[in-house]
């Protein structure tokens, strides 16, 4: 009897946590479920009953979105821009972080301060200047222009995360590699990068998610419909010219597939990278 009472009390103590988790799941998962249901309904059905179940489910909307509503173009534009930007920002950011963490060169602190000050700059502040610079370089309304902007604006966070991790890798490993005959550049590729893999995965995942959803720079720096990225493409269906909520919802479901896939693949490594130190 006593043991049962203790068990019951133990469960009672966990009640607030359970209530919180249920509420949190409802708040975050609810809208997702709602959009998922809307993605299988037509706009007319949605206007008639916004919270209705998809009955019948219009699975053909996904094919229509891909073929008729230009989502395939938006999807590939997003993929090209984000993949190239993430690769560049990771390689350049890792090299910068390696140098800042490992070499005690003159001006080290100034360079670190300048790079990391990018963390506190609000993106709105950059828009006018970026617009003018890209116009001057003939990169306005081009995908390479957007890639460059993405790389420049995400270097700071990448360097910040990677430098913290790289600085924890013991100096002896680098000295041992030097004694083994490796050059500084080879040491970066063969020691820093493999040991720093958890932190690299973290920055790749974070940058991918942030850039995949990026809207502000894309909406200002791209104008042609065939150059739009996914967030712009989705907005296109809820803009001033047309209001197709059903197709916007279908587009949203297509847009989140890569994010969910990336998170499912790398979430464990990412959490490890954010919480654990370098392997000794």
């Amino acid at each position: 009897m006593n043991a049962q009472l203790q068990l019951w009390l133990g469960q009672l103590r966990r009640l607030p946590l359970v209530v919180f988790v249920i509420l949190y799941t409802a708040v975050t998962g609810g809208p997702l479920l709602w959009v998922a249901m809307m993605s299988l309904r037509t706009t007319a059905e949605i206007f008639k009953n916004p919270y209705g179940f998809p009955s019948p489910a219009h699975w053909e909307k996904f094919a229509d979105a891909w073929t008729k509503s230009n989502y395939s173009t938006y999807f590939w534009n997003s993929t090209i821009v984000v993949v190239i930007a993430v690769v560049l920002v990771t390689v350049i950011g890792a090299m910068a972080a390696h140098c800042l963490a490992r070499y005690n060169f003159r001006g080290n602190r100034v360079v670190r301060f300048l790079i990391l000050s990018g963390l506190v700059l609000p993106p709105q502040l950059l828009i006018l200047a970026l617009f003018q610079i890209l116009l001057d370089l003939n990169l306005y309304n081009t995908l390479p222009g957007l890639v460059l902007v993405y790389v420049a604006t995400h270097i700071a966070m990448t360097v910040y995360i990677l430098e913290g991790f790289f600085a924890q890798i013991p100096q002896d490993l680098f000295d041992a590699a030097r004694m083994d005959g490796y050059s500084d550049f080879e040491i970066f590729w063969r020691v820093t990068m493999p040991i720093g893999a958890p932190a690299i995965f973290t920055t790749v995942t974070l940058n991918f998610i942030i850039l995949w959803n990026e809207f502000l720079f894309a909406v200002i720096l791209l104008t042609d419909d065939d150059k739009r990225t996914l967030p712009l493409g989705i907005m296109h269906f809820t803009g001033s010219h047309q209001l197709d909520v059903g197709m916007a919802a279908t587009g949203l479901m297509i847009a989140i597939v890569p994010i969910v896939a990336i998170y499912a693949l790398f979430s464990e490594t990412m959490i490890k990278g954010m919480t654990a130190g370098a392997v000794r």
Partner: protein
């Protein structure tokens, strides 16, 4: 075949007031195992890193086989180094850790495999080649670090406190293993440690450093028996040498030291060296093993006695340490005596001193005035 010569080596870090290493010179002959010994922060690891090419040299030269290598990059010096932290690459297997240096040197794959397996067999790592470092014990990691140096077959081995991360029992077995390996391979080696037992047992020669300078060099037992100054006297030996305040006098032409109210007559053969110190204060050094509860038979002519009060009796099993205070001056000293003693804390005793084993140091310069004769 490799001879390492270090000549007037100096290292000064930017912004530091004192040099980390100052005017260090020594030679390590072919196949010699030299130990650099000193307390933490004395500059011994910096000397090793300068020899390895990992640290720029402020002034002086490092030569290998007569060739100055100051400007030669680390990878071209043909030196292998074992680090205190082992520095094993955590993302590679034991096999790849051992092969990493050979791959860079474009050694053929079959030769790499042959050398890796030979080293693994020699060090008892054959079963562990596919494991990663995190799945190894401390001793196994240490052996992989040693193996990584061995497979390269370098001219010179450098060891930077390689045993300090091991527990006490493992340290003893690994130490013996290292001695055996060095004996078999015979590569010229420099070994840095702050552990005097390692220095005494492993080195053909030891070089004691303090505050960036070489204090004394020589064979381990010679240095132990004839410390050049009070620093070496205190640093070598556990418990360290007892250092007491005394005054050198002459009685009937014979040197006598007055320590805490007692007169200790010194052997005649040391008299000549003491001439100019008569009438001055001296530091009297006596090793704990040269103090006796019962004077050894047959040596009565060289025995003096000091009145002491026992402060503590530390029974270590194989031997007993007596912590004592001199009656007259309250200076403390320690004696290492046999395990079968009836002495208790608080007892009074006339402790016997072997006067032939007494060391005298100049209080101003702390250097040895006269060294105790070697009793081989």
């Amino acid at each position: 075949m490799a001879v390492i010569t270090v000549d007037k080596l100096c290292k000064r870090y930017a912004g530091a007031t004192a040099p980390a290493v100052h005017d260090v010179s020594f030679t390590v002959v072919d196949r010699e195992f030299m130990v650099l010994l000193g307390p933490s922060g004395c500059g011994k690891s910096t000397v090793l890193r300068m020899i390895a090419g990992l640290e720029p040299i402020t002034s002086g030269t490092v030569s290998i086989d007569g060739q100055v290598v100051n400007q030669v990059p680390a990878k071209l010096r043909d030196i292998a180094m074992v680090f205190q932290s082992y520095a094993l690459y955590p993302h590679m297997t034991v096999h790849d850790n051992l092969a990493f240096g050979l791959r860079r040197r474009r050694v053929e794959q079959t030769e790499i495999d042959r050398r890796v397996h030979a080293a693994a067999k020699k060090l008892g790592l054959a079963q562990l080649l596919k494991r990663k470092p995190h799945a190894l014990s401390g001793g196994q990691r240490q052996r992989v670090a040693l193996g990584r140096a061995i497979v390269r077959d370098p001219k010179v081995f450098l060891f930077d406190e390689p045993l300090s991360n091991l527990d006490a029992a493992l340290r003893v077995t690994t130490r013996n293993e290292l001695i055996k390996q060095q004996h078999d391979i015979g590569t010229t080696s420099i070994y840095v440690t702050h552990d005097q037992v390692e220095a005494m047992t492993m080195g053909h020669n030891i070089c004691i450093m303090n505050e960036g300078e070489v204090v004394q060099m020589g064979r381990p037992l010679d240095v132990y028996r004839n410390p050049a100054n009070t620093f070496v006297a205190k640093f070598l030996g556990n418990p360290p040498m007892n250092l007491l305040q005394g005054r050198l006098e002459a009685q009937d032409g014979h040197p006598v030291i007055r320590v805490a109210g007692s007169d200790v007559a010194l052997p005649k053969r040391t008299a000549a060296a003491l001439g100019r110190h008569v009438g001055h204060d001296v530091i009297v050094g006596v090793r704990p093993e040269d103090l006796y509860e019962i004077a050894p038979s047959g040596a009565s002519a060289q025995i003096a006695r000091l009145s002491v009060r026992i402060v503590a009796v530390e029974s270590l099993g194989a031997e007993t340490l007596l912590v004592m205070a001199l009656d007259a001056s309250n200076q403390e000293l320690i004696a290492r005596i046999g395990r079968n003693t009836a002495v208790r804390s608080g007892d009074r005793l006339d402790i016997a001193v072997d006067t032939a084993a007494i060391h005298l140091f100049d209080p101003a310069s702390t250097t040895a005035i006269v060294q105790a004769p070697q009793n081989n």
